[in-house]
Symmetry: C2
Subunit: 240 residues, 2 copies
Amino acid sequence: MLTMSLYSGESHSGLEGAFAKKSDTDVRRGVEGISNSTLRRLEPREHVCREGEAKHYVYQVENGAVCLYRSMPDGHRQIMDFAYPGDFVGLGTSERHLLSGQAIGPTRLRCIPVSAIRQLAGRNPEFCFQLYEALSAELTAARDLLATVGTRSATERLASFLIALARRNERGGFNSNRIVLPMLRSDIADFLSLTVETVSRTFTRLKQRGIIDLPQSTLVIINDRDELEQVAGLTQQACA
Amino acid sequence: MLTMSLYSGESHSGLEGAFAKKSDTDVRRGVEGISNSTLRRLEPREHVCREGEAKHYVYQVENGAVCLYRSMPDGHRQIMDFAYPGDFVGLGTSERHLLSGQAIGPTRLRCIPVSAIRQLAGRNPEFCFQLYEALSAELTAARDLLATVGTRSATERLASFLIALARRNERGGFNSNRIVLPMLRSDIADFLSLTVETVSRTFTRLKQRGIIDLPQSTLVIINDRDELEQVAGLTQQACA
DNA sequence: CGCTACATTGAAGCTATTCAACGCCTGTGG
DNA sequence: CCACAGGCGTTGAATAGCTTCAATGTAGCG
């Protein structure tokens, strides 16, 4: 049975799509039917792939995390997404990788030959539809991020980011007020289209306002979730 | 035969994906097999759909153009894409529309029931894969725009926008130096995440520099395409 | 212990925004 | 035929927010 149920309740919650929902797709099950997949281990900061390279494999994150980004000619980069366990890297019909992928910490990946995906998709409509669902989730994530980056202030962006991570924790059954940040400040900056300095200052201001604690640079404690959601500008009350 | 060939040459040309390549997908052929589709005519500024609404149809633009956007609680909007003839509105597995769609000028749409799409996708792997291709193109467009908005200046954004439209003309066999802008300044602003005033000033500056002419507000003549590409910051020369 | 990488803080500068006014074009009615 | 109104576009001046550049702080690791 084709599920169609993903994203059934509209979230409109900033970056939620960008973190929380992707891994829930059924594609994981489908992929298990592929026999000829191999594993690959990556060191922190090691690249999975580089944009422009021929795409031989699609990868699925087993553990760790990968950031997917685009490099601009001037050296800037825009991180498009973070891929967590269960998420895919390299979906889409391009013959080349359109994004570079870099492991954030130690990471293990399952490597699936594109030819296998193509074959399975051609034979099995259900699997093909699951691919469609997975891409649909990626598209939603990209548009969530675009809306956030395009219309919100630095504070709102960072607050949205933290809330998205908190929701991700909830769904995983973890403490949603205790957020571990596996990525560097520069990764957050390149994701939210800010500078490292602005990210840092914004963290500090949230801390000064008592909304969060920051016992280590990689650990955020949310003290006042409601206030944080307010600050994220996600409150619908302004909508007529 | 499944094509997989879309986007085979990497473009990396700013917003190219956002305009040029989507309509070339094979889905158009596939959809012709759907019998129970109806037509709908829209006045300028009339809405195709509103975000959050239940999704009963997927639409295909026959003529005219539609802008797809997300409204933020504070009243701002982020235009995610412009859909031109051949493009689809409402693809994806959500049960609700995730974006609002508004006709830019007089527009004719083909309305395809989601149930029909779902059925056809379930039976016909090739059609399903074409859906996947179409979404893949949308995803690329969204990421192109994200990269542009996230990393480039107002001038670079507008120049990229014009180049994308020029390329679109080329592919349609039209004069690539004569660009008709069917949308308002406010649409361009909401697409590029700028204000109307900044868009206007940036047009003026490009005109003063002799790179473009602007005989009417809806007509752009590109005088110096090379210079415009330079300004867009797409020149790869800086890449090591 | 000191090195290196990352994070934070400060001060100055700049780009885009905001708010306000004006200009232009089209359509309408006197 | 001209006057006026309304929508859209352009321009100007002041401001705000983020960036830039530079310095300082901190934590892990040889």
